[in-house]
């Protein structure tokens, strides 16, 4: 892998826990890598696993979905559905040859700013190891 490769990570964070955790990381001035771009959703249960496929197609090198810890979901069960869905989507993507390190999920609560940083670091590291995800990008070849 070329050393200059900086993976682009797309993160879907639930409003109540993980987005708040990311905010807390900010409030605590916890520095982390700028490779990650966050899309706020109300609940991790909202994240359609096909968003991942779309993100990879758009050029993301890795994806993170983060929600409340089991039992803490603001909407009671959304994170349980998300856990199931992404477990499977991860397997499916792995089967077509997408490195499983590109598909990440975490539980980050509103109080876990420090953990949020750890999650980002790990996600970026895994995407770096997997290399640039160019093969699935929407191409402009014959344009």
């Amino acid at each position: 892998m070329s050393e200059e490769y900086e993976p682009n990570i797309l993160a879907f964070l639930c409003n109540w826990c993980s987005y708040a955790g990311a905010d807390l990381a900010g409030t605590s001035r916890t520095h982390y890598l700028p490779n990650i771009k966050i899309i706020r959703v109300m609940c991790s249960g909202r994240v359609n696993p096909l968003f991942l496929v779309n993100a990879l197609q758009q050029g993301a090198d890795g994806v993170l979905i983060s929600g409340c810890h089991p039992g803490d979901c603001h909407y009671l069960e959304g994170n349980f559905y998300a856990r199931r869905r992404f477990m499977l989507m991860r397997k499916l993507l792995e089967h077509v040859g997408v490195d499983p390190g590109r598909v990440n999920m975490s539980w980050v609560s509103a109080s876990e700013g420090a953990k949020f940083k750890e999650v980002i670091d790990e996600t970026v590291a895994k995407a770096k190891e997997a290399g640039p995800m160019d093969q699935f990008r929407r191409r402009q070849l014959n344009w």
Binding site: R138, Q140, N142, W143
Partner: protein, 344 residues
């Protein structure tokens, strides 16, 4: 025109002698054959019945850019293919070549389509006569045949170790000479004629098209269509794999600030094909769509362009997952009584 031959094991040299041509020939991915640009002619095989996907994609690709643009700018950059590029289509079957002559009528109708025409003009077609027709071939019913020359610049006969090449047009002749082919002897010509005769005998299926174009409109409301449409999946196999089907969709696509307008194969079998924005669909069910496909090929197109839009390649029969057999439909249409239509 001329009669030539070359030894099959010299294929790489023969084709390699053509310096300025892009060569397209059937290439296999697993068991699936499709025309591809070949880098190494030695990989070209003569041992195939026909390609899964017809070579219409060489003139009318699955997806092609019409023009490009950039957001905020108003200049448009057309993406018409470079006509000066010479292309050799090697090993095209007579039916598929004949299909070009049919589709051409539409693409040159009134507003010539530069994309299709530029590709067509710059291509030289070296056909390969059929020795083993596919069971559902019925080209002879539509004026074609295993050795039909329509649309071709040259026709090749695979005679085992030798390939006999009969050039049909000047362009074919020029290419044959550029390949450095030697002249064929009578023996090859005879062998070729025998092979053609033998192949003709192997074509088992046929339809007498007499009267069909005139009759189909009278069967518009006839219930017999449902015998077929009831099991139709509304998929695009029959049309995508049809060498004469030519319908397309146009879509704008964006990559950040860059955009293109592209066209891509479309099929009248998809419900969204005719769906109006209002939600109204003039062909809402598989019955209307099945009827339209057959009627378009065997009635509407001949009414407008004097030729049936079918070459009898048999692909729609071979690949239809639910055994919708166009010959069966046509036979049934002949049996159907037009007067039944309104009462049923």
């Amino acid at each position: 025109m001329g009669d030539f031959k070359f030894a099959k094991d010299k294929l790489a040299e023969v084709v390699g002698a053509l310096k300025d041509y892009e060569v397209f020939a059937p290439a296999a991915v697993g068991d699936v054959l499709r025309f591809k640009e070949v880098e190494d002619a030695s990989s070209v095989s003569f041992d195939f019945k026909n390609t899964n996907v017809p070579p219409k994609e060489l003139m009318f690709p699955e997806t092609e850019t019409l023009f490009k643009f950039r957001v905020g700018k108003t200049d448009i950059e057309p993406a018409v293919p470079d006509e000066s590029k010479k292309r050799l289509v090697f090993g095209i079957r007579p039916c598929d070549a004949m299909a070009y002559t049919i589709v051409e009528k539409l693409y040159s109708w009134d507003y010539p389509d530069p994309y299709f025409e530029k590709r067509r003009e710059s291509s030289v077609l070296f056909g390969l006569a059929c020795s083993e027709p596919v069971p559902n071939c019925f080209c002879t019913s539509l004026g074609g045949g295993p050795g039909s020359e329509q649309g071709l610049d040259a026709l090749m006969f695979d005679l085992g170790e030798t390939v006999y090449v009969k050039t049909i047009t000047d362009a074919g002749d020029t290419v044959a000479k550029a390949m450095g082919l030697e002249a064929a002897a009578d023996a090859e010509k005879k062998a070729a004629a025998a092979q053609e005769k033998d192949a003709l005998g192997k074509i088992k299926r046929s339809i007498d098209t007499e009267g069909i174009p005139e009759k189909l409109p009278s069967l518009y409301d006839h219930p017999f269509w449902e015998q077929f449409s009831d099991r139709c999946l509304s998929c695009g196999i029959c049309t995508f794999l049809c060498p004469t089907c030519h319908c397309f969709d146009i879509q704008d696509e964006m990559e950040a600030f860059d955009g293109r307008r592209a066209r891509m194969w479309d099929t009248c079998m998809f419900p969204e094909y005719t769906l109006h924005t209002s939600g109204h669909n003039p062909r809402p069910t598989r019955k209307e769509r099945t009827r339209n496909r057959i009627s378009h090929k065997y009635s509407y197109f001949p009414e407008k362009f004097d030729v049936i839009a079918c070459v009898g390649c048999g692909r729609c029969i071979n690949y239809c997952p639910v055994n919708i057999d166009i010959l069966d439909i046509l036979e049934k249409s002949k049996q159907a009584e037009a007067k039944e239509a309104k009462t049923a």
